[in-house]
């Protein structure tokens, strides 16, 4: 399998796409890498990503990093693979590995986006594997091509969850009528019409498999987003500085990374580092405003899911699908 390059590997570089982290490798494998190796996985290599999992610039292009340049959508090479797990999504779509691991930094849709742009399947899971740049808020997401290879994702999830075959049996059972009696919600977000089609297809499949499909609208999405970004800026600086302390030989703070980028001929050649600068200026985790924003965003996000599930007696919620892949939007600065 292939691993997104923000997952620590001691025998391979781990850069999050930044040339600043090329100088030395991590001292040890991330916990999920140890789990995968223990379960017998063969690690083929590391995949490109939107640099820093798309948390450097407000105008970044998905799938571009200073280390790997632009990853292309394998189905249409001049189209974007979306991101930030761009390389992992593109690699499985191009049959470059059986499974690839992506990451999903927040309540947002990092690993979902390249999946939908490249038609790989993913399934979010709840294991906690802290490493790389996003601490425990990052969950790891195996990506695989859709179709029969859902079983490969299930095997991977089982290895990572420590519950052998827990997911495998449900994947193997994923046949006609396997959802008989289940209540599945199709969440409706603010979609343009052309984005609704793929989502409708997924809902139709659930219905054909015997499920009752319920349309729902998650509450408070704007409020969650407004509180989440400032909270993430504070957490990013705190967590990144703590992570860099484990990586001797590379810049040791966010401020050092900002300086590195300013002096590097490649890093700022396509877009800036606005989010880095905002994070550097963000208040510490002891700041009361930060703590209120984090508490509000987390509570509302949990309620937006839990309340729907209990009110409608749901078994699962299907997230909306992204639209057709966009063209690359890279410009030299």
């Amino acid at each position: 399998m292939l691993l997104k390059d923000n997952i620590d590997t001691k025998n391979l570089p781990t850069t999050a796409g930044s040339r600043a982290l090329l100088a030395s490798n991590p001292k040890q494998d991330a916990p999920l890498v140890r789990q995968l190796r223990a379960a017998g996985a063969v690690i083929l290599g590391k995949t490109n990503l939107s640099e820093w999992a798309n948390f450097r610039s407000t105008t970044a292009t998905s799938g571009w990093s200073g280390v790997g340049a632009q990853t292309n959508n394998p189905y249409v090479l001049d189209r974007n693979p979306c991101g930030s797990s761009s390389g992992s999504g593109a690699a499985v779509a191009a049959s470059l590995s059986q499974v690839a691991i992506g990451t999903r930094p927040t309540a947002r849709s990092c690993a979902r986006a390249p999946r939908t742009a490249t038609s790989a399947s993913s399934r979010r899971s709840a294991w906690s594997a802290a490493s790389a740049s996003c601490r425990s808020r990052t969950s790891r997401t195996p990506l695989d091509r859709s179709g029969g290879n859902v079983i490969d994702v299930a095997i991977t999830l089982s290895a990572l969850s420590g519950r052998p075959n827990n997911y495998v049996s449900s994947a193997i059972l994923g046949r006609a009528n396997s959802l008989r009696g289940a209540r599945i919600a199709c969440g409706r977000c603010r979609h343009r019409p052309e984005r609704r089609q793929g989502h409708a297809v997924h809902c139709g499949h659930s219905s054909q498999a015997g499920a009752t499909v319920v349309n729902v609208v998650p509450a408070n999405q704007d409020t969650i987003g407004n509180d989440e970004l400032p909270a993430l800026l504070t957490e990013f600086k705190h967590d990144l500085n703590a992570y860099l302390a484990t990586r001797p030989g590379v810049p040791q703070t966010l401020a050092d990374l900002i300086t590195f980028d300013q002096q590097d001929p490649v890093e700022l050649s396509k877009f800036g580092q606005e989010l880095f600068l905002q994070a550097e200026a963000a208040p510490p985790e002891t700041d009361p405003t930060y703590q209120m924003e984090r508490a509000t965003a987390t509570s509302l996000a949990q309620h937006s899911i839990d309340d729907l599930i209990s009110a409608d007696h749901l078994d699962a919620i299907i997230a909306p699908t992204n639209g057709p892949a966009l063209g690359h939007q890279l410009r030299d600065r």
Partner: protein
Amino acid sequence: MAHGSLTSVQLTDAYLDRIHAVDPKVHSVLFLDSTALSQARAE
């Protein structure tokens, strides 16, 4: 693989070949692990 018609080494070799053939156009792989085949042999 369960039936013995495909080994871990063969599968790993096939994916490495495909990465070399296809990824120059896709640019999805940053670093290849030179130990991949030896990992597969250890299966």
